[in-house]
Symmetry: D2
Amino acid sequence: MILILKTGATESQIAHVIERVEALGMRAHLSRGTYRTIVGIIGDENKVREEPLRAIPGVEAVVPVLPPYKLASLDAHPEPSVVDVSGVKIGGGNLAMIAGPCSVEDEPRMYRIAESVRDAGANIFRGGAYKPRTSPYAFQGLGEDGLKLLRDVGAAYAMPVVTEVTDVRCVEVVAEYADMIQVGARNMQNFVLLTEIGKTNRPVLLKRGMSATVTDLLMSAEYVLSQGNSNVVLCERGIKSFDTATRNLFDVAAVPLVQTLSHLPIIVDPSHATGRPDLIPACALAGLAAGADGVHIEVHDCPEVAKSDGPQALLPSQYRELCDRMRQMAELLGKQISPLPKALA
Amino acid sequence: MILILKTGATESQIAHVIERVEALGMRAHLSRGTYRTIVGIIGDENKVREEPLRAIPGVEAVVPVLPPYKLASLDAHPEPSVVDVSGVKIGGGNLAMIAGPCSVEDEPRMYRIAESVRDAGANIFRGGAYKPRTSPYAFQGLGEDGLKLLRDVGAAYAMPVVTEVTDVRCVEVVAEYADMIQVGARNMQNFVLLTEIGKTNRPVLLKRGMSATVTDLLMSAEYVLSQGNSNVVLCERGIKSFDTATRNLFDVAAVPLVQTLSHLPIIVDPSHATGRPDLIPACALAGLAAGADGVHIEVHDCPEVAKSDGPQALLPSQYRELCDRMRQMAELLGKQISPLPKALA
Amino acid sequence: MILILKTGATESQIAHVIERVEALGMRAHLSRGTYRTIVGIIGDENKVREEPLRAIPGVEAVVPVLPPYKLASLDAHPEPSVVDVSGVKIGGGNLAMIAGPCSVEDEPRMYRIAESVRDAGANIFRGGAYKPRTSPYAFQGLGEDGLKLLRDVGAAYAMPVVTEVTDVRCVEVVAEYADMIQVGARNMQNFVLLTEIGKTNRPVLLKRGMSATVTDLLMSAEYVLSQGNSNVVLCERGIKSFDTATRNLFDVAAVPLVQTLSHLPIIVDPSHATGRPDLIPACALAGLAAGADGVHIEVHDCPEVAKSDGPQALLPSQYRELCDRMRQMAELLGKQISPLPKALA
Amino acid sequence: MILILKTGATESQIAHVIERVEALGMRAHLSRGTYRTIVGIIGDENKVREEPLRAIPGVEAVVPVLPPYKLASLDAHPEPSVVDVSGVKIGGGNLAMIAGPCSVEDEPRMYRIAESVRDAGANIFRGGAYKPRTSPYAFQGLGEDGLKLLRDVGAAYAMPVVTEVTDVRCVEVVAEYADMIQVGARNMQNFVLLTEIGKTNRPVLLKRGMSATVTDLLMSAEYVLSQGNSNVVLCERGIKSFDTATRNLFDVAAVPLVQTLSHLPIIVDPSHATGRPDLIPACALAGLAAGADGVHIEVHDCPEVAKSDGPQALLPSQYRELCDRMRQMAELLGKQISPLPKALA
């Protein structure tokens, strides 16, 4: 860390700064410039916190030189990680194709959609049993019944399933039924939830919060990793912006940016990023071209009766057409869509 | 609600739209303009959801004419609500002065800070026992021991106390020790937590999320209200912006805006909004001038050793000086700082 | 347009609204809902402005049903436009590859860079002679000498050239030397400049402002088009965001979004969008995959001595490698990089 | 400046960095930490630019230690500046009350509005003769006729006048008729315009751009100051945000922030910041409470026929009531509304 002192910091302030740094077990290296004095802190930066240093009188700014995450960083693991979701690999050239309805709905519909997305090329089936809804009066999901149905549908087509957990008290039951646990954007900084999920060994799909920086996202991944669960897949799904023409702003540059900082796989979710079916195909292809390790897309066979997020769902026929184009793109990039396992364990 | 149909919507699409609207128990009122056809939906808008309507073929946009919240709206309660926190009133001309350290720390320090802020003019004491920290390696709070200490300190000075709950499993214990439960910005859309808190009868301090619109904030209040707990106080504490000179962007206009939409009291938190002690007094006064029902400020007697958020804390002497100015401002505005109760019940 | 009246709008307010609408030569179509009254305005929406209607007592909101631009819209021109820049086509499957240094610098360097980017695959050469710099103390460009040099270099390699104009008094001289005139992000709403450029017949490269919505961008294009110059190429170059890890936020979804609204070609500029050479290739490919009609990239053979924007420039060798990948991507998408003209006219 | 080198920067890269720094006439001070090497640059930071340093191989980040502006900084002028607009003082405890219609309109209306705002307490009259409109089809202002009328109205009531200039070719004529020249938000980074205005001796009202940081705003002021014109008054008028409930987001904290960085006066414009008459009074008072040196408000006697921005104008009666409250606020703060001059020179 580097401390930039204020113009006119007094000698006794400088002495106090050095004293505080040394009290923390570090060495201070003073550099007196023409206008400002700079204090380099030498030692294990991870042992000191930025905040108390900024509160020392005479300190103007604290500049960290290391990222605040460790296990998520490329330093900790220089090769890209590959996460295995019940036989479907994500990362290292293996692409996840996650598809399904926003919510788990009635049984025949679930089988119908699952069959159509599997035939199109999807390798992981999604559906929400617990729905975080902005309105307390909206459909909140089928709960455990939804989890069971989701698992049965997945088993029928040998597709691993992913579903969201919103309540720390449901982590166990979700981990029992699902192959992969999703943390939604609104819970990306629900640290209690992240910690409990970190104690399971289930692969995690961690969605970026709507106002989270890439650093924030990696810090949330660090919560899961620090509990011993290293199977984290990140997901860019759009952030807040002043232009409300699309539901969120798809930050495609986050994909290569994460890859310069972390070994964790990162996929994209153009359904939530844009909220508009007519923009999803272009953004899905853009995500792959930018280097994403997979694409998450909502598919529904009758959006106008969907229990949630209907307007942003692709029809099965649209998804099939997009899969064909994504397959060509994968080939151009020298990647493969991960094959389905023979059967789920 | 109003449906705007696409240019070139066909007659059979229009017929299908009308059919769908009537199937929902509403009446459709058609208006054919020069360029577009508009469908007014007549009936109880709250019975229809926007989403499925947007997914009907031929529909370009859905324009709601009512706000999505009910209990939080001025329609439900045209007079400003007054929330009573163990004898301290908030709203309707009564100002809350919430102050204290970010985290509950050691006992002597807590008594020292509480005494100083009470003497300055604070009427509610704050301190975090469960801290939502971006880093898993940072101080996470003292937990239940912290809650007990906070309650004891409050009792000693006859100040009600407020503390944050981050884990749905801790709602009960927090409700037992604290006079008011805080929902932090990162949990504003933790709907599971909001629902559980709504089942208690404790006053709630609901902080605006960093990327939440005012409508989002009111929808989160609606979650609490819909469970039967009507003691909700909103808090503007800064939102995300492209200018990172301050920690967040203090949206002071949210105060009068909320007052045109809702009866719930709203206070401001210039500590989190700016993250800079030198800007806190100006923003606290601005908040009051804009009509806020109180001010939440972090105070610490030695910021450089604070366990969290030290750099944004005021010193007790700075807080005292600010309280004097806030008292004058209150007088100008015809409001009063709520007096402390004789003793806590 | 649709007027949504306030709850409790009086009969005399409603009558006044209708009177005002009819005074504007339109017909009003009243629709009384359960909660609100809606007034549909029938007639040529372009003849009425939204603002005065919103100021009528009793009116809560005005909802336009047509986009505010006309000549830029797909309604005016349903097929994608193709812009011809001295023989290089942009749009309709023809890709622009614009490359060159940020500023026009010394002569040998300009020839060197031009040769390298032409050999790599670029078809338009760029360089700034007038530089809009945040600091009045920074290099402001070579002015007319720079323009001449740029033209000569372009002629030597049969590449059309594009350069920015920042001063309305220089439009004429820039139009004389350059094949295409660039309007920079900071001048996107310099309406005086847009109007003057609209009076020339030079192709225009119109960059999106840092806080401009896609609608704002199309309105700025409308300024140029309304003066009779229909040769406008839009450029997505990143917008402001709370995450400052990249210089701007690359809004790749703006590409397909523009294509649902307008016939104008749109290219991407990953150099300014990211400000980081290590992210440029991924974003360039993402832009093409999303459907962009070209890519604008800054190239410099010695970034550490560049007179401006050095840190975001690719080296010629990096650009060559990227061009190879872009060529493959173009082929996959069924598009072609526009060939260079035999010679410039 | 401080250079943070990349992990694993080689010795030859370090040597090259030092060589480059010394070639720029500065000294390099090396500090080898446990993880990173830091290079402090000693000498006049203003002589080196950040950009080329960031482009040197092995450099990860460049941290400036001085602000990029000089003349606008408190270092250059530690006392608050007072700007004199034809006898009306702004800054140093003197408040500007700028009011008038958005556009200069017909003569009787202008006299009527001017009289009403002067009687209410305004001390500078505003009106736009050249209007920067998003749409090329909207009213563009009366031009030089409008300037003359504005001057005559001001003279009749002994009020200095302020009006916007949008075209560099009109700077001279605007400086002739107006007492103060306004640079609008969309032109805040029109550096050509700023430079020409800097060559006049007219006071300047410089509005913050919608996506400008406070540093950007001060850099634009620096453009004017660097040409010799030191009469710059800054204006906070709202910035872009994801919450579109208000037209812009009123950044009230920018007022005290600017005061920690610069000697220039800063006023607020709640009309443009909120775009809603019902929020203007609260935000005007908040601005004063935060320390602003004045308030800019649009007033129109019949908003529904205003040629521009009608919906955000206060009625004369509303403005009068607000002035009474602002006067009380000024008294509380120990400031005065600058008195009108006896007559204009």
